[in-house]
Symmetry: C2
Subunit: 146 residues, 2 copies
């Protein structure tokens, strides 16, 4: 019997294949963006006994073998997504909290500058960029003009 790519990934690194790991991975893939809590809820639809600790531990494992990545979008809750998606930067509105994903390539020049000037290899996808979205920016303009 042949094994799925994700199973092979885990096995290569000496990790075991468990139902929990499969379910968490499937939930992350399906959710697109998901916090640990959201992933727990999703997993519990199938297996209600799964514990939050397991979610955290499993996310860590899946990330360490490169199946998923996470991004910090605000204060607390990190967001996990499938490594299959093309790398993207998150723009988060401080005001309405809307999240826009843009191609990581948008920051190519900025990254290059950081590399050349400071020798710093930036991971632009790991931390969101905060600011004001189109809608909220025009709202606050109206306010200051009115």
């Amino acid at each position: 019997m042949e094994s799925s790519p994700w199973e092979a990934r885990l096995r290569e690194q000496g990790f075991r294949i468990t139902a929990q790991r499969q379910l968490v991975l499937e939930s992350v893939n399906q959710l697109g963006h998901g916090t640990p809590e959201e992933i727990l809820s999703s997993v519990q639809k199938t297996a209600s006994g799964v514990n939050l600790s397991t979610i955290y531990r499993t996310l860590e494992v899946l990330e360490s073998v490169g199946l998923i990545t996470h991004t910090h979008i605000g204060h607390g809750a990190p967001v996990y997504h499938s490594q299959d998606e093309s790398p993207h930067i998150h723009l988060v509105c401080d005001d309405c909290a809307e999240v826009t994903s843009i191609p990581a390539a948008s920051a190519a020049q900025f990254s290059l500058d950081l590399k050349e000037t400071y020798g710093f290899t930036a991971h632009m996808t790991h931390m969101a960029v905060t600011g004001s979205c189109k809608t909220c920016a025009s709202k606050s303009e109206l306010k200051s003009n009115g």
Copy 2:
């Protein structure tokens, strides 16, 4: 009697002048970068009775009147700094956690791109940029080559 600029700032917005607010502001100015806990310690050198709740409330007030700003540097505690300092972006090394400050102007072109392409007004100083610093980047190169 004339009042300091920071007192005026608070009063303008209807806030009272208190010893705690003065001490917190002075600590932030003095520390350069400080987490709420660090600011508490610093304040307590002068006034040992000050409570952590007060630190949080005061930081919020001082930020709302524009005397200080904060930046999210990673998972843990946010970092506060004086608004007097010139605006800067924080580069944080994932590996050694070293923080480098660079002028906000370094991201001017990137910000402009975000504005023009997505209508998004980025606040580059509010969230740190993570990645690998010069030292750690060369270390991991050595590892993969050796």
